[in-house]
């Protein structure tokens, strides 16, 4: 076989995504919408996992990058819609959104990644809020009333195709020689630095890569909901993504994906208790943190010590 294990999974994922999107019209529209939400959440959580989990830098501004990508790709779509077939410009618009988000990620990352822990968290939170406020005051993208009439191009195929690429790219990056640097920075920054890892560069790389995929997720989101509002990208959205990463277990890709699926589906299951569902959501976060702090799917395999 010419492909390694991970690449095979990537190809399988993309093939499945194309196959499924072929049958899309037969699905119930509600379930379809939820499934796309799940796919977008997977991209967001996996990309944040690279920053928060693998590299251990606590970022609270992921929704800001999502907003940048979402707004930019939606703006491109609105400019060229009608003149070019969607199959050509849609991936271009998504990539452009991702690249702009990565550029913003670089701008944010270079100065702020000098800070640590709580300070980094608050600065990234601040940048997320600044991006939101700028979106709220820019007339070209609808200002406070939001951007309406975005063409609906996001399908199951695109979403899960990009989700597969995201998972593959981040897993491959972390498992590469270069990617060992992320884990080294996570484990002990000083030790990593004294062993010749350029810690700032590593952290910025993680940040920019994470921002790129968040931007793509934002683009998919924009072309799925067909409406973008700045208030949808406030810090609560960032916290939603952080909770996915933490529940999944920081740095465990499979766990994070499972948590993203679970947390996106949970509000749908709780729809019957709509009055109480956000209260239950909050309670669940607290209880999970008290009872399963290493993540929902972390099982302690170590044998008990006999004393």
């Amino acid at each position: 076989m010419a492909f390694s294990g991970a690449k095979r999974w990537l190809l399988l994922g993309i093939a499945l995504a194309i196959l499924v999107s072929y049958f899309t019209p037969q699905f119930n529209r509600y379930y379809l919408g939820v499934a796309i939400d799940v796919g977008i959440a997977i991209i967001l959580a996996t990309s944040l996992n690279l920053i928060n989990g693998h590299t251990g830098q606590f970022s609270l501004g992921h929704a800001g990058f999502m907003a940048v990508g979402g707004y930019f790709s939606a703006w491109i779509s609105l400019q060229v819609a009608g003149s070019v077939p969607a199959i050509w410009y849609f991936p271009m618009a998504l990539t452009a959104g991702g690249l702009l988000a990565a550029g913003v990620g670089l701008l944010v990352g270079v100065p702020s990644l000098r800070l640590r822990g709580d300070y980094l968290a608050i600065v990234t939170l601040g940048f997320g809020e600044i991006i939101r406020v700028v979106a709220q005051n820019t007339d070209a993208i609808g200002a406070a009333s939001g951007l309406k009439g975005i063409p609906k191009h996001t399908t199951l195929g695109w979403t899960f195709g990009f989700a597969a690429i995201t998972i593959y790219a981040i897993t491959a990056l972390v498992n590469s020689t270069y990617g060992r640097g992320f884990i080294a920075v996570h484990d002990d920054e000083i030790a990593a630095e004294s062993n010749g890892v350029d810690t700032t560069r590593t952290k910025v790389t993680a940040f920019v890569t994470g921002a790129f995929f968040a931007g793509i997720a934002g683009g998919l989101y924009a072309h799925h909901k067909q409406f973008l509002s700045p208030t949808g990208f406030d810090w609560l959205k960032s916290i939603d993504i952080v909770v996915m990463v933490i529940l999944g277990g920081m740095g465990r890709t499979a766990g994070v994906i499972a948590a993203a699926i679970l947390l996106t589906l949970m509000p749908e299951f709780l729809r019957d208790f709509s009055d109480y569902r956000m209260i239950l959501y909050a309670l669940l976060i607290i209880l999970l943190m008290l009872l399963r702090p290493a993540g929902l799917f972390a099982f302690n395999i170590k044998r008990r010590k006999h004393s």
């Binding site: 702020s112 000098r114 968290a121 008290l290 702090p293």
Partner: protein, 324 residues
Amino acid sequence: MPKLFLSIQSSKLSTPNSQPTVDWFLQQTINGLGLGAIYALIALGYTMVYGVLRFINFAHSDVLMLGAFTGFYIAPRIEQIFGHQSVLGMIMVFILAAVVCACLGMLIERLAYRPLRNRPKLTVLITAIGVSLLIEFTAQHEKVFGAAPQPFPSLLKEHSIHLGNVVISSNDVLMVGVTVFLLAGMWWIVQRTRIGTAMRAVSHNQQAALLMGVPVNLIISFTFGLGSALAAVAGLLYAIKAPGIEPLMGVQPGLRAFVAAVLGGIGNLPGAVLGGVLLGLLETFAGGIPGLSNYRDAIAFGILILILLVKPAGLLGRAIVEKV
């Protein structure tokens, strides 16, 4: 900058009988001090809890909201006893709200944070976010407070003092006065009492304090109570100024005060006050300039980021050298 000057000239809405130079400046300073006083009170709570536990208590802003709602429910009853808009009644409302919130703060610490005492900081941070969301969503439920804003009863009759073209509201004086009084009290507790010494010891080195016989759990509880009481007072002051109170009223001032605490150097008490006042002034000045006023939220964070880049430990914080 002719354009900026023009925009100040046109801002006659914020200065009633305006001579848009020195008067405008003084007026904004007075408004900013009132707001900054509130931020300082909230920031103290953040910074004290950070000092003893090294984590950001996200639920602090919701304790502020609960303080305002406590005042909202007990003010009519206090009024029946002490009379309408009496000074004594107002003081009673403040004390009762502070006591209720102090108990709530200690309860939150006991139930949610203490079981996590030895876990990684991130776990505690997420729990704090969870507690914050829990309080907010519970309060928004129609059977609790409801999501709609409600008018806050005026505890004291508002007077306006005219000094030339500058108008000083009695509420601003009240805010600054209460804050200065509480800050003096705080300073006395932290620097001059036995429990304050214990607080400083816990903040300095929890393990060593424990070995010296300091009841660490009790001190942490007390710190939460004190911080929450300050938040309750800040909540009442904020409610007096704000048009109405609602379950999410704490989020914005809480976020600003948090920024203020980091700005001054988190864990540092004078720093929190300095950060709060600075932020209040900056926000008021930015708000008074049309065109900039839409970016008020961004400005607070922009300043924070600039300062952290130059002085990563905050204005008054000391940089800690990490030892291997």
